[in-house]
């Protein structure tokens, strides 16, 4: 089968779905966070492949921004998780249920 945009998109979306699964199934905050990175990366892959197949560099610029933003987000997120861990001695989502209902 000839490899075209469709294949790339399928891969990228599968990756996205994997990330999604990770987010909703794993209970360790850090792993969840990694899964989120996976999802962002899937978007990057989609953008790059579109960029390639549509003959348009804007997509790559977007990827650039996404990577930057993701980095910022990761740093803040990790800092937050660390701060939380210091308070709670846990990075487990089930321990984060003081507020509910």
């Amino acid at each position: 089968m000839h490899v075209g945009l469709e294949q790339y998109l399928t891969v990228s979306f599968l990756l996205f779905a994997l990330g999604l699964l990770g987010v909703i199934m794993r209970r360790n905050l850090l792993v969840i966070y990694m899964s989120l990175e996976l999802m962002l990366n899937a978007a990057n892959l989609a953008l790059v492949s579109f960029s390639r197949f549509n003959d348009n560099l804007n997509g790559q610029i977007l990827v650039f921004f996404i990577i930057t933003v993701a980095a910022a987000e990761v740093s803040v997120g990790l800092a937050l998780i660390v701060a939380l861990y210091r308070r709670r001695q846990s990075a487990h989502v089930e321990d984060l249920t003081t507020m509910k209902l």
Binding site: I24, L30, V31, R52, F65, A83
Partner: protein
Amino acid sequence: MENFQNLISETMLPDMMFYVFAALTLLFGVLVVANPFSRNPVTSAMFLVLTIISMAGLFVLLHAFFLAAVQVIVYAGAVMVLFLFVIMLLDLKEEQHRKIKMVAIIAGLLSVGTIVAIFLKSLHATNLNAHASPVTEGDTALLGKLLFSQYVLPFEVVSVLLLVAMVGVILLSKKNLK
């Protein structure tokens, strides 16, 4: 033989490479989120690195060389190191085997499955109008030009964002509160 090589370089090889990298990416991806052997976050992190590197391979196949490099440097290099650093810092043990809720897993699989199914269905239903012969090269110079001309505004905004993130990280992780 030459013909064959040509054939590979022209069509077959990139295709084959695609399948290889795609398979690797997905495999590592699965291992990130659902490693049947280990639930240790470190393992997940390591597989995430591998996923990202495989993906960089796909980027190369798509002629986005600059981004492939950035991907490896920023993600595999910086971000993942940060992750690992934090994991080590927090001294996270292997995730305890709390009881797994089958219902939750099935429901999760079902909903994600629905989304995937709809996506794939839509993908097949859509004529993507993709060019037969992709030509765009990941020209770094061109990218740079675009970034500093057309996209200078978002670029500046992102710089503010980074500043904010920096401040935030410091505030959040400062050891002693005043």
